[in-house]
Amino acid sequence: MKTIVIGVIGADVHAVGNKIIEHVLTEQGYNVVNVGVLSTQEDFIHAAIETDADAIMVSSLYGHGEIDCKYMRENCVEAGIGKVKLYVGGNIVVGKQDFKEVEQRFKKMGFDRVYPPGTNIEDAIAHLREDLGE
């Protein structure tokens, strides 16, 4: 059983998507560790270390995602889990921006997968299976 850490980063309290992601991933047979809303990078990384997680799925809805996710890959490396898969999704920047560009910015920051607003969580599960070699 693969373990996935999920949560909502920064000063972000959008809880609805998070609850639904937990429900769907669990239903699909994952071991889900939900750090919930208002979580720091440390909360995510700490949970990932403790549970030997295969992937971290960061949600950011409120627009400060770009600030909140800075150096997240570096911090993973530093914490010794440099290889963990890093996904990010939600409304990760302020305003309607060209998604291709946004994706590039987050990929440069070390995220493996970057999702646009309103992504169906089922789509991400397909990627998970691929990336985790299931």
Partner: protein, 493 residues
Amino acid sequence: MIENKKLDWDYFLKKRAQILRQWETGSSPLLDFESAIETLKNIPEDKNFALKLRKAKASGETMIQPRAGVAVLDEHIALLKYLQEVGEADFLPSTIDSYTRQNRYQNALDGIKESEKMGRSMLNGFPAVNYGVEGCKKVIDALNVPLQARHGTPDARLLTEIIHAAGWTSNEGGGISYNIPYAKSIGLEDTIRYWQYCDRLVGFYAEQGIELNREPYGPLTGTLVPPSISHTVAIIEALLAAEQGVKNITVGYGQGGNIVQDVAALQTLDELTNYYLKLFGYNDVFVTTVFHQWMGGFPADEAKSVGLIGLASTVAALGKATKMITKSPHESQGVPTKEANAEGLRASKMVTRLLKEQSMPSSTELSTEKELIKKEVNNLIYATLNVGKGDLAKGVVKAFEMGLIDIPFAPSEMNAGKILPARDIDGKIRILEFGNLAFDQEIKALHKKALEKRAEVEGRKVSFQMTIDDVYAVSQGVLVGKPRRKDEQNENH
């Protein structure tokens, strides 16, 4: 222990001194009461939120107000002016950024700098505390319509001091409504205390002859919240505010989707708030209502979003909401550009002005729904007072602890989070899991029956999957979520 009692003035002043030290802008001389009172007295009548609302209610036309806020002062002013002129907004907001809401003024400062560097707003709102009274004054001075702070700040005391001293004549929020949907682990006692402070300040200004408006935040999580639950919170916050001396209150409600339930909600919100204010002896509080256009997930398509905005505006007008908070075609994407924001405003304005002479005729369906909402609210308020041994503030804290009041999808640990809502066959929001919610058996039976009817028609069981389907539904263009997977349905269907 918390109490629903007007704060002692000396205690208030002592607190005030501490609060103004929380960030450097708290030391501005403009925060001296003398200055602040003069500033507020100089605000002309048509830029006073409270007074303009009185006129609006009498006119029958639903007023419109957007959400809007960016990191950099000059751009924030330009944005608001645009929404006033091109958007034809009747009231303006300053939506405060999320760092300020969490009192992280240093982060907000970084955000301002980053935004200036990048040439685009890196913050999701206007960091009012960082700009202080001086900056906030520039904002209102540049405008012709009343201005309100809209945020989601559990502890908004410093923010509140600053905006009122700057001449902003309304403040959104409340001890419950700016905690449960906006925080994770802050105690309700704390936030009620913080908001008693904010209300006491407004009460103080009232004693000086300055009428300011206060607006409990109505829609809560914006996601399938049954009207009786958000009404209960709104009424309790109105009562708590009135105790501190607030005289002008706008109670709110977020569009649910069923038109009859929405109109019933708007009508009962006004009726019940007035009823309870008078019941507790607050006879001189002026009540208005605000309708929030759909607060859940929006469709990705912009044209569909504007369609939804048009529908919402129709409902607000038919329900005679005093004002309406508008959305934009960009809603599902992110903070809107000023153009998109103004489009949402003008689409809304077209409808509310056209319908200003009209309202929903009374009907059996409407009055049945109104009766139900009233019974439910009475249940919840009775239970709250009961566990508070007659004290509303104590009662609220206990009621949430025990799950007697419970808000769906809330992030807060102070909230039981046991209830699950779902829609009945014609889209009215009902409850499928009650947890400890203080509804009587008769009411629960009504909800159950309604949902079982839907389950039967859809050939499936009443379950959390229904709730999930309903959460997604509107963004996918339907109101009542349809079963997504085949295996979810009964054989015999």
